[in-house]
């Protein structure tokens, strides 16, 4: 289908383009950006007053399939992605069963393609069943569609296995995605500090993150493996990352929308919506994360989307399942951060478009040169949004099966900027605001 997105403000962080123009789409690709007067479109999307940006690329979203369908399903969560302007997402392997078999990965990819709401890039398990003992078949999994390998939230305690995993992955150029958390120090339910002490919640010290980072960086130094650090949460962690990058280690990193905007104080009176992994830390940590995302030390902003079933949240804080719905909030929270930090729109959008694609690199094949950007001849993954719309979030507005998020207006009092009007994936309309 030939689609014309007319008269929008076209913002492409990759090229620096920021101008009013028409975007012409045919056969799934962008065929022109400029004046679309003689383009014979079958469908016109009037983008007057709206921003036309690349579709968002989210490096961390759990879809809860297979195995946790009571919390989320591929269909509901990919619809949520489309509603959030997310056109590509990386899903995590801690499903049930774990994504450690090519067949499972192929099944997920196939079903996502059929739904055609969002491109799906699974991470494979780094070790079988995530048990931290033996490596998965990385070549087979890569062939099936995995873009990297991860232990997710299951810390790899055996450093011998971690070293071998990095050596093996680097042999074939696979990226390893690790969330830095020491297995023993990381067992608490809130960040160590005055709030956790006051509420009597078991605390996770910053050392849980920094010890793990030191271990990872030491092994990257030895192996030259390509490592992506997931969900950085502390100022001390940011300092270590900055030093590692300055040294030239092949590392990248992301931060979640939760850690970027919230602190442990938001737990208030044991609000289980604030039960998150990694735990929310203090204001100084949040400020360091915001600064690091602004200067590019942290490469990407992620939703850390993890829909959680009602029954698993209506529990005492420590027993509640960690996680929050986030896909539909990624754009707004990127814009909100950008506005707070006084950054140009293009810079805020870069952290959810161009930069996460750079993190993925060659792992996504030819898409590496056109996903997360608006380029003639490239794939037509587009997000059209109203930058001036402000909305107060209520759980009922969410498309995701998971209705728990810290960002409801009633718990944070935060107005969210930016409303998605249309999302196109490969030139097909995946979402349109009713």
């Amino acid at each position: 289908m030939k689609i014309l997105i007319s008269n929008g403000r076209v913002v492409d962080p990759a090229s620096g383009r920021d101008e009013t123009a028409d975007v012409m789409i045919a056969s799934g690709r962008i065929v022109g950006i400029g004046g679309g007067g003689d383009f014979n479109a079958e469908r016109v999307i009037d983008a007057s007053g709206l921003v036309v940006a690349p579709g968002l690329v989210d490096l961390a979203a759990r879809l809860r399939e297979p195995g946790q369908e009571h919390s989320g399903m591929l269909e509901s969560e990919l619809a949520a992605a489309a509603a959030g302007g997310v056109t590509s997402l990386v899903c995590l392997p801690d499903t049930d069963p774990v994504l450690d078999e090519p067949g499972l990965v192929e099944m997920l990819k196939f079903r996502a393609r059929k739904l055609s709401r969002c491109r799906l890039f699974p991470l494979g398990a780094l070790t079988r069943k995530l048990e931290g003992r033996s490596l998965t078949e990385m070549a087979e999994l890569t062939e099936a569609g995995c873009v990297g390998f991860s232990q997710v939230d299951v810390a790899l305690t055996d450093t011998q296995v971690l070293l071998r995993a990095l050596q093996y992955a680097s042999t074939f150029g696979h990226a390893v995605w690790l969330r830095p958390q020491d297995a023993w120090l990381g067992t608490g339910v809130a960040a160590q500090g005055a709030l956790a002490t006051r509420l009597g919640l078991a605390g996770v010290p910053v050392a849980a993150e920094t010890i793990a980072l030191q271990t990872i960086f030491e092994l990257v130094r030895a192996t030259k493996a390509r490592v992506h650090i997931c969900r950085l949460s502390s100022a001390a962690g940011v300092a270590l990352l900055r030093a590692a990058k300055a040294e030239g280690l092949p590392v990248t990193a992301d931060v979640s929308i939760n850690s970027l905007h919230l602190t442990d104080i938001d737990i208030g009176y044991f609000n289980a919506d604030m039960r998150l992994t990694p735990p929310l830390r203090q204001a100084a940590d949040r400020d360091a994360l915001r600064a690091a995302l602004a200067d590019g030390t942290i490469d990407a902003l992620v939703s850390d989307h993890n829909p959680v079933d009602e029954d698993m949240k209506n529990l005492p804080f420590g027993e509640a399942e960690p996680g929050a719905t986030g896909l539909e909030l990624l754009l707004s929270l990127a814009l909100r951060w950008g506005a707070d930090a006084g950054l140009p729109l293009g810079t805020a959008l870069a952290r959810v478009t161009r930069d996460p694609v750079r993190v993925l690199g060659d792992a996504i094949g030819s898409l590496a040169s056109s996903a997360g950007r608006l380029v003639e001849g490239g794939v037509a993954d587009v997000c059209v949004f109203d930058p001036r719309a402000e909305w107060a979030l209520t759980p009922e507005q969410l498309v995701s099966q998971g209705r728990h998020t810290p960002f409801t207006f009633s718990s944070t009092g935060m107005m969210l900027p930016g409303r998605v009007h249309a999302t196109l994936v490969a030139g097909t309309i995946a979402y349109e605001l009713a």
Binding site: T197, G200, A202, Y269, G413
Partner: protein, 320 residues
């Protein structure tokens, strides 16, 4: 950020649940202590009953065992003429897979008027207060490491009884503070009542430095901690913490922090010694001190009944 209303107070600032000492206005706290004073005489009468909760049903929901605390709540409720039901939830519904909120919904349907809740998770009574019917009142009888507010109040009653005025006192709280809900309630109550010097005493594994954020002076040395104290509150050391990564042994703890007559001599001559019970003799406190002239451990128990009567009658009289 919106400041969410303190869930234990109604819009008029009146107490509708007792969930935590933190955030309790000083006037509310003092009012409860004054009310407890009037109930103390009820306990001395031949007929130990007042009709304040006649026709009301109080459910003791103990998700964690504690015969002693449950008994004191039961006595307090009965002296207020309430009907009391004791539910030992450990042994019934949760083992059948019923969720906490399902249990609460079912008991609410039985027309409970008040839940007295003990739970091993910090914050559980907040969840219950948030989800129960508006006419139901919740009393926290101990949640995880968070709070044990009636213990905090009875400790304040005891201190006021023996010391009259809070404004000149030095109070030492000794032992496993990090895991103690009693310590948290005491510290909040003492700061609210204007005690100028509160010391938290114990090894770094049990008394972390960030306790200072609660307004206490952290002391790792026992002599420094109790020197010149007017009140010494000893905490119970739980069996599971007596040996392991927190402490090498009960014996070594006793040597460093156990309250012996020799260490007590460092406190003021008229110091009182308190303990929430049950006591581990020879672990946190010597028998000579527990049974000695400074000890007010048994008066604490007596006052506890009156304080719990005061709490239950106060919240039952306020509407959500």
């Amino acid at each position: 950020m919106l400041s969410r209303r303190n869930p234990q107070l109604n819009v008029h600032g009146e107490l509708i649940h007792l969930l935590s000492i933190e955030g309790l206005p000083r006037a509310v706290l003092t009012q409860i202590l004054d009310t407890a004073g009037t109930f103390l005489s009820v306990n001395d009468r031949d007929v130990k009953k007042v009709p304040l909760l006649r026709g009301k049903s109080v459910f003791n929901l103990f998700f964690e065992n504690s015969t002693r605390t449950r008994t004191t709540f039961e006595i307090a409720a009965k002296r207020l003429s309430a009907d009391v039901l004791n539910l030992d939830i450990n042994k019934s519904s949760t083992t059948k897979g019923e969720s906490l909120l399902d249990t609460i919904a079912n008991l609410s349907a039985m027309h409970a008027d008040m839940f007295v809740v003990r739970h091993s998770e910090s914050g559980a009574p907040y969840l219950i207060a948030e989800h129960c019917a508006p006419h139901v009142h919740v009393v926290n009888a101990g949640d995880g490491r968070h709070q044990h507010p009636t213990q905090g109040l009875l400790d304040m009653y005891t201190i006021r009884h023996f010391k009259k005025d809070f404004s000149q006192l030095t109070v030492a709280v000794v032992g496993d503070i990090v895991h103690s809900r009693v310590a948290r309630s005491d510290i909040h109550a003492l700061t609210t009542l204007g005690v100028p010097e509160i010391r938290a005493v114990g090894p770094k594994t049990l008394v972390p430095g960030d306790l200072a954020g609660m307004g206490v002076r952290v002391c790792h040395d026992m002599a420094e901690g109790i020197r010149g104290a007017d009140v010494v509150i000893m905490l119970r050391l739980q069996n599971e913490r007596m040996s392991g990564a927190m402490l090498p042994s009960a014996g070594e703890f006793y040597k460093s922090y156990g309250l012996t007559p020799g260490k007590l001599a460092l406190a003021k001559a008229d110091a009182i010694v308190m303990h929430p019970g049950p006591i581990n003799r020879g672990v946190e406190i010597a028998s000579a001190v527990a049974d000695g002239s400074h000890s007010v451990i048994l008066p604490q128990v007596t006052f506890g009944i009156a304080v719990r009567m005061a709490v239950m009658s106060t919240i039952a009289g306020n509407q959500a």
